[in-house]
């Protein structure tokens, strides 16, 4: 009886996994074979039709390499800035006593509730007015601080025994040294989660980078892939090759660090 129910469970899992994996499998296979191979020979293409031509084609047809570099620059800027401003703010919101602390935290919570897509017009006006349109800095500027990393790190810092902080202060450490040498090392898992969250949201950003960039070579890779979808709809193999290149870094993260994502990101967002 148990064997039958276990077999049924396996069968359902296999079907569900096949459905979930279908877009990934077909896009990877199409990207690696000549165009129309799946349509002609089904989902198991012959080894003879393997090719890297689609990748060569996609790197010719869009500014994929500069766009990749723009994305990496945006991710680096936003992640460093969000984690730095977030750690500083979280420290101020947890350890020292001061008036207005509750108000500052309320502001952080307010920004968490505002949909990012609703405030692009004034940011577009401002970033354009200071001449940063179509630049990497212009893409990253509105996102150098974010509510979620502050919130996450504040929760983590609040769990550090106050005695540890007081001991470091008694040793003569200033606020910055206490933060960097004592508090941050005590909250390593949450700092990792904040870094991963900031990096992913920077890498995945789409609406704002689309609005604030004009020239192909200063667009991010996400915007690049959306324009490839418009221009290569008749040649899915080339489009799929583009999606493979875009998704490789995050796919490596999922495959190599799935446990970290479950324990950190998935549990962390549940506070």
């Amino acid at each position: 009886m148990l064997g039958v129910s276990a077999a049924a469970r396996v069968a359902v899992v296999v079907v569900l996994a096949a459905v979930v994996a279908f877009p990934i499998y077909t896009s990877f296979v199409s990207a690696l074979t000549v165009n129309g191979e799946i349509a002609r020979h089904g989902l198991l293409p012959g080894l003879g039709s393997l090719t890297l031509a689609n990748f060569a084609e996609v790197s010719r047809s869009v500014d994929l390499v500069p766009q990749y570099l723009v994305s990496i620059a945006v991710v680096t800027l936003q992640t460093l800035a969000q984690v730095a401003t977030g750690a500083l703010a979280a420290y101020a919101l947890v350890f020292p006593r001061w008036r207005g602390k509750g108000l500052a935290f309320a502001l952080v919570l307010l920004t968490l509730a505002i949909p990012g897509e609703s405030i692009v017009i004034p940011n577009y006006e401002l970033v354009s007015a200071i001449g940063l349109r179509d630049t990497v800095l212009g893409v990253a500027l509105p996102y150098l601080a974010a509510g979620y990393p502050i919130f996450l790190l504040r929760q983590a810092f609040a769990g550090v025994p106050l005695e540890i902080w007081e001991a470091s202060r008694l040793d003569g450490a200033g606020d910055l040294r206490s933060l960097v040498e004592v508090i941050l090392p005590a909250c390593r898992p949450e700092v990792t989660t904040a870094v991963v969250w900031s990096a992913l949201s920077a890498w995945n950003g789409f609406f704002w980078p689309l609005l604030i960039t004009d020239s192909s070579s200063s667009r991010t890779i996400q915007v690049g892939i959306s324009q490839l979808a418009a221009s290569e709809a008749s040649d899915p193999s080339v489009l799929f090759a583009g999606t493979v290149l875009v998704v490789l870094p995050t796919m490596l993260l999922v495959v190599l660090a799935q446990r970290l994502l479950v324990n950190g990101l998935a549990r962390g967002v549940l506070h």
Binding site: I121, G147, P161, R169, I225, N263
Partner: protein, 317 residues
């Protein structure tokens, strides 16, 4: 000196000084002791300039008519609101957005709940399946939409070729109004499935084994164990996913921009796509009316957030 040990679970460090006034503070040294509160300034300044200010400015812009390059010209009060909110086209856009948000979220959360529950107990190849179910998390809205653009593409799309192989005639995914909403919802549900699976896997693993064993001793197995014991325990995670999924669904843009551009015949135009067209589309930019659309989005998202707090409050009381 009494030692005050705050409970790590409460996270209520703010309240600690008031509750334990006898506790001695760390001595302040040199001029550095007072610097702590100032560390909040960079974050507050940035959030003020790039989140709070734009919110207020959006509300202001929504009360103005716009000139030919989008700048506000004259105060028109609530005229923009009156025009847009009585426009059947915009009402339809709002309802379409809500429909796509709910369909995509329902698809992602129910499928992810099934997958997480099925993988709770040991299964041959379990860890590999777990990775497969997490993979859609690697995709952004834009890259998932690009993949689905290739799958849905008319005449060369792979999806209908494969469906034909199993004897199903697929619809014209992007040119039929009803199928297009389904196509957008499927793409949305697929890429949100990855995150939902990660969250629900964490939730399943957090269920105390004693609870499951006790239920099994009472004869609850399989379906009953899942529906009566596990799902109620996982309710906070499910609620969290329902709310965040709906909120991100209300902001659906990349899928529309990549797959349909709002078509066919406006059938898949969402709130954010409308905002995009009014402010940054090919026509004359109209920041005034686009700002009304933005305010509507804020109201919709706030409504979902309020419902979330109601539901959470009801659970805890």
């Amino acid at each position: 000196m009494t030692i005050h040990l705050p409970s790590p679970e409460t996270g209520a460090r703010d309240q600690a000084p008031d509750q334990a006034p006898a506790r001695t503070r760390a001595p302040r040294r040199g001029g550095r002791g007072g610097a702590g509160p100032w560390l909040v300034v960079p974050a507050v300044l940035l959030l003020g300039v790039f989140v709070v200010r734009p919110l207020l400015r959006t509300a202001e812009l929504s009360l103005y008519a716009s000139d030919i390059i989008g700048n506000p010209t004259r105060f028109v009060g609530l005229t923009n609101y009156g025009e847009l909110l009585t426009d059947p086209g915009f009402v339809r856009v709002t309802l379409t957005t809500i429909l796509i948000a709910l369909l995509g979220t329902a698809l992602a959360v129910t499928a992810a709940l099934g997958a997480a529950l099925l993988l709770r107990r040991r299964l041959p190849g379990g860890p590999a399946f777990s990775i497969v179910f997490s993979l859609p998390f690697a995709y952004s809205a834009a890259s998932a939409s690009a993949v689905f653009a290739g799958l849905y593409a008319p005449s060369v799309g792979i999806l209908n070729v494969v469906l034909a192989g199993v004897g199903v005639e697929g619809p014209a995914w992007l040119s039929d109004p009803v199928a297009a909403i389904g196509a957008i919802s499927i793409a949305t549900g697929w890429y949100e499935f990855g995150f939902a699976f990660l969250v629900l896997t964490a939730a399943v693993r957090a269920v105390p084994p004693e609870v499951v064993e006790a239920a099994q001793l009472d004869g609850a197995g399989g379906w009953r164990l899942a529906s009566r014991i596990l799902v109620p325990i996982m309710r906070p995670s499910l609620l969290f996913l329902a709310v965040t999924g709906t909120i991100s669904g209300l902001q659906t843009f990349a899928q529309i921009q990549v797959l349909t551009r709002g078509g066919p015949g406006g059938a898949t135009t969402t709130v954010v796509f409308q905002l995009f067209q009014l402010a940054f589309g090919n026509g004359t930019p109209d920041f005034g009316r686009a700002s009304v659309v933005a305010v509507v989005l804020v109201v919709l998202v706030t409504a979902v957030t309020v419902v979330q707090f109601r539901l959470l409050g009801g659970r805890e009381s």
